[in-house]
Subunit: 268 residues, 2 copies
């Protein structure tokens, strides 16, 4: 494969560094995919690949050679880089000689059509990227319709979100709202019953009604759900806490609620 | 408070480094607790404190001064250290001037007495400390009786296990078995019904029978449950996977199973 060789000074290399460090605007939701597993994911999801960086000296597996050719053919532009340049832009120990700038899908409320028993999770103010990625993985697994973000504190393009999502971020629809009121009104206009996950004055989550369309709101690791969500008259549901701790990990509690809703909707 | 001042060459300081880096045997299950939050946890759980290190120059909060005195009074031995020494042994940015070597409780099968509807989780070969800690936090929350470890790959004294457990590791009983057969026989002798969490040839987890005593086995992040667990005729239960991914995060799937068992046992 013949590709143009570029060095660390090339603007494409600098762009990767900006995306990694979040030091430039990123309106196309570009993220960095590294290594064989991530490239298999990009190719199988048909994700738009902006730039492909190929470092043949770092490739040992035959599969990686084949993926390199497929990725180069799919990418808007493709370059050859040295081991030294790869080390500058890679966050992994062994990126298998493959690194791409790819784009996350972008969704608007108009792209979504909900069925009678739709299921949506709202993540309000979540701070830890690994938690957000794990949540997206659960949303995929339980067949949820969308993830809605309010008071967003972590970006979806964060490497730890991508990794923890195990690639499901390429298929689970995500929407972000600037204002909680907007999100609440949109859910209401779509005939969702919205529950806030909160242990105070809450109904046991097994007793809640999950018929029709259901939206579940979970809050930040440190502060819970933001105040604005409490101004819309939504009911609260809680996973009972029977031990010495006063809360569950947020991606755990969201997953328990999501699967309860899914099981009840599907009459498992 | 007057405490003996020691420097980086002191054996107690070196011991902390060995524990942090896991470079010496640790038969008393010592772990490093850093900062105000961790010390509040030690004091409230009455955990045995082996050595307390006090760095007054790094203390800013009044509460930390009070905790320092309480911890020094409770510790087997207590020393004063400089900021420079604290930096050598601390893994945190701001350890609030408080660092202790404390001991995890140690349990044997004989310490445990099970009720009629006991609930136990077996973690086989789990590799990621954060997952193990998050699991322990869920075990506390759902009132489980114990965590059983087989094919242990990560130590309970790992700082990330302690942190993710949010202190619940001080109260949730944990048992380790050298051999899977030993664990399986012990559970059977205690009249547990054991289920393996596996998606192949498995029953939907909502259809399983959780009456009596229940043990749930989950496996490693990469390889699932080890072969030896399949030699005892246990049934398999699965959380249905409805999306593009083929698995859930292990602490998520374990939590969904644990709360299902708890809900059914408690008739929520």
């Amino acid at each position: 494969m013949e590709l143009q060789a570029i060095g660390v000074q090339h603007p494409a290399v600098r762009q990767v560094q900006h995306i990694q460090n979040n030091t430039a605007p990123n309106r196309y939701k570009l993220f960095v995919a590294e290594g064989l597993w991530a490239h298999n994911m990009l190719l199988s999801h048909n994700a738009p690949i902006d730039t492909f960086f190929w470092c043949p000296e770092a490739i040992y597996a035959d599969e990686a050679h084949r993926r390199a050719e497929e990725t180069a053919a799919r990418a808007e532009r493709a370059f050859r880089i040295s081991l030294r340049t790869l080390e500058k832009i890679s966050e992994r120990d062994k990126p298998d000689g493959l690194l791409s700038l790819a784009a996350l899908p972008r969704w608007t409320p108009r792209d979504l059509r909900f069925g009678r028993s739709a299921l949506v999770l709202v993540a309000d103010g979540l701070e830890i990227p690994g938690n957000l990625g794990t949540l997206i993985r659960t949303l995929d697994a339980c067949g949820a319709d969308a993830l809605v973000l309010t008071n967003r504190k972590t970006r979806l393009t964060h490497p730890k979100v991508i990794r923890a999502s195990q690639g499901t971020i390429l298929s689970v629809p995500t929407l972000e709202f600037e204002e909680v009121a907007e999100a609440a009104e949109w859910l209401s206009s779509q005939r969702f019953t919205t529950y806030l996950a909160d242990t105070d004055e809450a109904l046991n989550y097994r007793q809640a009604d999950y018929s029709g369309r259901t939206a579940l709101v979970v809050g930040s690791e440190r502060y819970g759900i933001g105040k604005a969500w409490y101004e819309h008259g939504h009911s609260r549901v809680a996973v009972p806490m029977l031990g010495s701790g006063d809360s569950l990990n947020v991606s755990v509690s969201a997953s328990i609620l999501l699967y309860e809703a899914r099981a009840r909707k599907s009459r498992w």
